[in-house]
C-alpha cells in the first residue's frame, strides 16, 4: 500500500446505494437507480481524498452514504475502527460527533429562523453536557476559528454573504471536534474570489485540528489544489483512484483523460494548442447502465470485451487503482 505508516480512518468496501423506483397503481417496485454501485476506498488519517465526477455520477450520494445519512443497500463502512454499515440509525447518534458534513448550499442548509449562535450551538446542545455559558464560549471560539466576527453571533443567516454562510456551516461541523468531515461541494455556490478564501480556511483548519476530509467536487482544478489523493467516479463506480500528482500528470482511465482535457485552462496559448478529447453523447441513466463497462458507450478506446465484461477495479501500479480492460492485459502478461 501507498501509505504504509498511516492507517485508514475510513474504510469503505463495496458500498452500494440503490434507490427503488415505484410505479403503477400499487406503487410496486419496478426497478432501481444504482446511484452508488460497488465503491471501495480508504481515507487515511489527516489526508484529503478528493471525489470528483460529473453531475449524476453518484459522488454526493456516496458522501452521504458514507456518513450513513441513508440506509445503505449493502457494503461495509468502517470509521475509526467501528463498523457502521449496518448500524441502526438510533445507535449511530453516538458516532455522529466523530463524523460531520459541510453541505453544498449554505443558503438551504442553515435554518433562516435561527441565529448564527443557535446554529453553531445546536450540535453542542444535542451531544454535550455543559452550562450555557460554556457552550457560548465554545461558539465564540469556533467563530474566531472560521474567521467570523463574534459580534455577529445574534444575527440571522440572511444577513451574511455566501462565503460567510459557508463559514457558519463549517463552524457548525467543527463544533463537536470531529475527526472526519465530508465536504459536499462546499465551494460550488461561491464566486471565484470567495472560493479561494474558503479553501484556504479548510486547509488551515485541517492543519490546526488534524482533520480528515472527503472533498466532493466537480471542479478538477480546485481538487488538484486541496486533495492528497483523488478518486474519479462515473455512473456509480470509481473508475480511477490515484495520488494527486500521478492522476493529473498521467491519467490512466480513458474517462479521467477526457475529463481532464475538458477542463478549460486560463491560458489562451495553451487553450488553443492542446488537443481536446471531446466525449460524444451523454451519461447513460443509472437505472439502466450499459452491459459490461459503464463507460463503453462513450469511450474513445472501446474494445469488444468492454461491451461484455465489466472490468475489475484493481491496483495496476503501486497506489493507483483503476477499472479498465486496457490495463488488464499488461497486468496479465506480467504475471
Amino acid at each position: 500500500m501507498l501509505d504504509d505508516g498511516k492507517k485508514p480512518l475510513v474504510s469503505v468496501k463495496d458500498l452500494k446505494m440503490h434507490f427503488p423506483i415505484h410505479a403503477g397503481l400499487l406503487r410496486r417496485r419496478v426497478s432501481e437507480v444504482k446511484a452508488v454501485d460497488g465503491v471501495s476506498f480508504d481515507v487515511f488519517e489527516g489526508e484529503t481524498l478528493g471525489l470528483v465526477g460529473e453531475s449524476g455520477c453518484g459522488k454526493s450520494t456516496c458522501g452521504r452514504a458514507v456518513l450513513r445519512l441513508y440506509d445503505i443497500t449493502s457494503g461495509s463502512i468502517q470509521i475509526d475502527d467501528r463498523e457502521i454499515g449496518a448500524t441502526p440509525q438510533p445507535d449511530l447518534r453516538e458516532m455522529r460527533p466523530t463524523m460531520q458534513m459541510v453541505f453544498q448550499d449554505p443558503q438551504a442548509s442553515l435554518n433562516p429562523r435561527m441565529t448564527v449562535e443557535d446554529i453553531i450551538k445546536e450540535p453542542l446542545d444535542e451531544h454535550t453536557t455543559g452550562t450555557d455559558a460554556e457552550k457560548r464560549k465554545k461558539v465564540s471560539e469556533l467563530m474566531d476559528a472560521v474567521g467570523l466576527n463574534r459580534k455577529f453571533a445574534k444575527r440571522y443567516p440572511h444577513a451574511f454573504s455566501g462565503g460567510q454562510r459557508q463559514r457558519i456551516g463549517i463552524a457548525r461541523a467543527l463544533a463537536l471536534n470531529p475527526k472526519f468531515i465530508v465536504c459536499d461541494e462546499p465551494i460550488a455556490a461561491l464566486d471565484v474570489s470567495i472560493q479561494a478564501q474558503v479553501v484556504n480556511l479548510l486547509e488551515d483548519l485541517q492543519e490546526q485540528f488534524g482533520l480528515t476530509y472527503l472533498f466532493i467536487s466537480h471542479d478538477l482544478s480546485m481538487v488538484r489544489h486541496i486533495a492528497t489523493r483523488v478518486a474519479v467516479m462515473y455512473l456509480g463506480k470509481i473508475v480511477e483512484l490515484a495520488p494527486r500528482e500521478g492522476l493529473y500528470a498521467d491519467p490512466l482511465h480513458p474517462y479521467t483523460k477526457a475529463l481532464l482535457s475538458a477542463v478549460p485552462e486560463p491560458d489562451p496559448s495553451l487553450a488553443r494548442t492542446t488537443e481536446r478529447i471531446i466525449l460524444k453523447g451523454d451519461v447513460p441513466s443509472p437505472s439502466n447502465p450499459p452491459e459490461g463497462c459503464n463507460f463503453c458507450t462513450r469511450c474513445p478506446s472501446v474494445m469488444d470485451i468492454c461491451k461484455r465484461v465489466e472490468p475489475d477495479y484493481r491496483e495496476v501500479q503501486p497506489g493507483r487503482f483503476t477499472a479498465c480492460h486496457l490495463y488488464n492485459d499488461a497486468n496479465d502478461t506480467a504475471e
Partner: protein, 334 residues
Amino acid sequence: MPDGALPVLDVQDLKTVFQTRGGEVHAVNDVSFSLKPGELLGVVGESGSGKSVTMMSLLGLLPSPPADVRGGRVKFDGKDLLNVTPEQLRSVRGGKIGFVFQDPMTSLNPVYQVGFQIMEPLRKHMGMNKREAAARAQELLELVGIPDAKQRLLDYPHQFSGGMRQRVMIAIALACDPQVLIADEPTTALDVTIQAQILELMKDLRDKLGMAVIWITHDLGVIAGIADRVMVMYGGQVVEHAPVHALFTDPQHPYTRALLKTIPTIQGERAARLTIIEGQPPIMAGAPTSCPFRDRCDVAFDRCAVENPPRYDLGDGHDAACFYDVRTRGPRDA
C-alpha cells in the same frame, strides 16, 4: 478578427439604476464597448458585477420599475435601441440579436414541443409558413448537433438532457440568422465534458455563420479558450478591456491580476496556498465617487478614495480603469 470593419453593436456610457426600498442601486455605470462582425467578446466578472444587467438593459429586458436605464446610447443597425418603440425593439430581439440564457432548465417552456419553440421566432420574425418553419427547425437542430432531428422536434423539453436543452436554446437563438448572439453563462449549469462540446459547437458556428458573439461568464478558463477580446467587469463598471492574449499575459488592473492568481489550474506548478482577494464585493448604493475595488486593492492610494478612475487607453486595444500604472509601478499621469 476582422480589423477596421464597422462595429455591428456600439454601446456608449450605458447607465442602469435600480430603485429599491433601501435607495438606489447603481448596477451599471457608464459601460461602453463595441462589437465587430464575427468577433467573440468575452465578458468576465463575479456575480453582481453587472454583466448580465448590462446585456439585459441594452435589449430592454429589464422590468421598469424597478430598473431605470438612465443614459447612454446603443447603436445597432442604424438605430439607437434605447430610443425605439417597444414594437421595433421586439422585432430586434430574437431576430437580429439572439439571446441564450444561463439555465436551460427554466428558459424553455415545458408544455410546448421543442419544435414549436424553435418555429416560433421563424414565424414571427421571418414570416415563414408552418412547413417552411418546420424544415428550417430541423436544419437548425442538425446544425447544433442533435441526432434524429426530425423526430426530436416533437419531443418536450423534459425529454432532453441539460446539454441537449442548451443546444436547443442555441438553435432558437440562431433561428433568424442573428448578427449578434448574446450568450449569458451558457455553460455554467453544464458539466465540463458537456461544456467542452458546447464550446466546440460555438466556435464552429461562429466560423460558419460569421456572427458576432458576446459571451458572458465568470470562468476565465472558458474565456481563454474562446474569446478574441475580453472585458472585465467589477462593481458595475468595465475595469479592464484587452485582446485575450494581452489580458492573460499582461493584465493591467489589480482586480484582473488578483483574479488570475486566485484560480488553481490542472497543469503547471501547483501553488502551496491559493492567493485570495480579501474582503467582499462592493455595495453599489449611490453614484460611484471612488474606485469600486479600492477596499480590496493592494496598490490603492489616496486618489482612489476621492475619484473614480476613467478607462486609460494603453494602446493596442488595451485599456484599464486604474490610477496605478503597473508598467512604471507608480501613479498614472500624476
